[in-house]
Symmetry: C2
Subunit: 323 residues, 2 copies
């Protein structure tokens, strides 16, 4: 595929602003929380955008709502389909149910039970596949060919990227004067939308992606100038196992200040810290920015730092929640 | 002690309104969250006032702030003292630190480590005692005699009751048309303040206390017309082990519509449900109203129900949070 047609599908800030208007009333405007003790630990001001309190428990509700609501009625009627380790699947299922159209979700067999259950609860059809990116994509192609449904890619989609960018847009509206904005990167839907919003609304702010060192495809891709794809990387941050998409990579190359890495062993302790200090249930992926900051990857002293907490769909049983 | 002097110390709604003005800026106005899936389960509209997101992680920050800020400067300078299984202790420690005066907190040996640690973190002096009400009270008397500090009782205190009532006041302001307001009852500081606020601001609403069946002193006291005291009741809801106070009982007799009971085995499952649906870290005490509703103690179908989620200071290690 040549560069030109791809770039022509890249979303711009106007698409984020339009997404914000389109999805209003369909998703929550989530609160921004702070912790004096975390601020004291870092000698900085941290502002946490609580997308775990979003519908379906994750920011993915934004992009899915934007993509489904933007469809022409006759196209929407044939339904939507996607592959997802979970949150995007639940989000698309909800968006489709809200619009009264069918949804098919291809789910890898190693996805957390709680995420799979959410897809079913919102009324979508689950299609199982092997836990590799290749298996996800080929299974999804088959589903789309069979049903005529519109493919809503979990991250490599202009409408999805624009929708995810609305979280940062709200954060920037609610917290003036941010010096830094940090969001986790998996496929790159959130971070590329975040970068679009931040560059337009707050050009002074630097924008960083945070990813697990065990799934460092974003870091490697930006360093080499070529998209690196990892097949089934091993990290507890199940929401960040995907490799970055084409549109996402193009936007990240243009807009991002850098990538910070979280050591694998630092992710669950950071998650526990967030649970204790913020009193929020968060999934491991949501703790990756704090884990990376704990590792000293970025000097944030005296800075105002916005961090997007991506979701809260964690399997409490798997974590050993005892009765 | 005769009835007359006690009743003369009973707070009124004006004291709740005054507390709201006094503590503004010192405590958070906490958000109210809802869950469509919980609403569907109950066929009702549930509104959760998130005091786990309050400073020190519990509503207790309100009463302690009100009591400490109301002291004359020369009295405040001698410090404050209390006994507490934890949240009130941390709250008083914070309020004292904010005002720059010393605090002593008598803590029973079986209090959760996380609550004890919070008292220390805010700079108060911890004084250990045996895990009985008698031991708490005698140890506290000794501390007060020695230091000249002002005793700020965790619940049997007009300023504390008025302060705790500000949570319900905010809830009633933010959610119009509530039919029911439910709060847990331990010593009764929260429920008596809640009842004061609800009766004044929304006379149509019924007000219920929820308590563990294993610590049912409120239920028994109201049924018999005499304060029943339980010594060290065995419930996982560590914030609700205290027996109701004198002022609290008097207000509850006047203002409360009833008490609903939570079976002990229902408390942790209700807590897990709240963690999963609301994505909030909550302590067992905060789940007692939902546990009681799950037990069918009250018909809430088609009702608008306000529930105060009391706190989020749970010991994640003790619950088996694994790394």
């Amino acid at each position: 595929m040549s560069a030109a047609p791809v770039l022509s599908f890249l979303p711009e800030f106007a698409d984020v602003a339009e997404a914000a208007r389109r999805i209003e009333g369909h998703v929550h405007r989530t609160p921004v929380l702070t912790s004096r003790s975390l601020n004291a630990d870092f000698g900085a001001e941290l502002f946490f955008k609580c997308e775990n309190l979003q519908r379906v428990g994750a920011f993915k509700a934004r992009g899915a709502a934007n993509a489904v609501l933007a469809l022409d009625p006759d196209v929407a009627a044939r339904g939507v389909a996607t592959h997802s380790s979970g949150n995007h699947g639940a989000a698309l299922a909800l968006a489709a149910a809200t619009r009264g159209v069918p949804a098919w979700v291809v789910v890898p067999q190693n996805a957390p039970a709680v995420k799979r259950a959410a897809v079913v609860r919102y009324g979508a059809t689950v299609v199982d596949c092997a836990p590799t990116l290749a298996a996800r994509e080929s299974t999804l192609e088959t589903v789309v060919a069979k049903t005529g449904a519109t493919l809503v890619h979990p991250y490599d989609d202009a409408l999805v990227i624009a929708g995810q960018g609305t979280a940062a847009l709200e954060l920037l509206e609610d917290v003036p004067g941010l010096d830094l904005v940090i969001a986790p990167v998996g496929g790159g839907g959130l971070i590329s939308g975040t970068a679009l919003a931040a560059r337009a609304c707050r050009p002074e702010a630097r924008v960083y992606a945070a990813e697990p060192a065990a799934a460092d495809d974003a870091q490697r891709s930006l360093a080499s100038g070529q998209r690196v794809r990892l097949d089934a990387p091993k990290t507890i941050a199940d929401g960040l196992r995907a490799s970055i998409g084409e549109r996402n990579f193009a936007l990240m190359q243009q807009l991002l200040d850098g990538v910070i890495l979280a050591e694998e062993a630092a992710i669950l302790p950071a998650m526990q810290t967030l649970w204790e200090r913020l009193k929020l249930v968060l999934e491991p992926s949501a703790a990756v920015p704090l884990a990376a900051l704990n590792g000293g990857g970025l000097d944030i002293r005296d800075k105002r730092v916005g961090i997007i907490l991506t979701g809260g769909n964690v399997d409490l049983e798997a974590l050993g929640f005892r009765r």
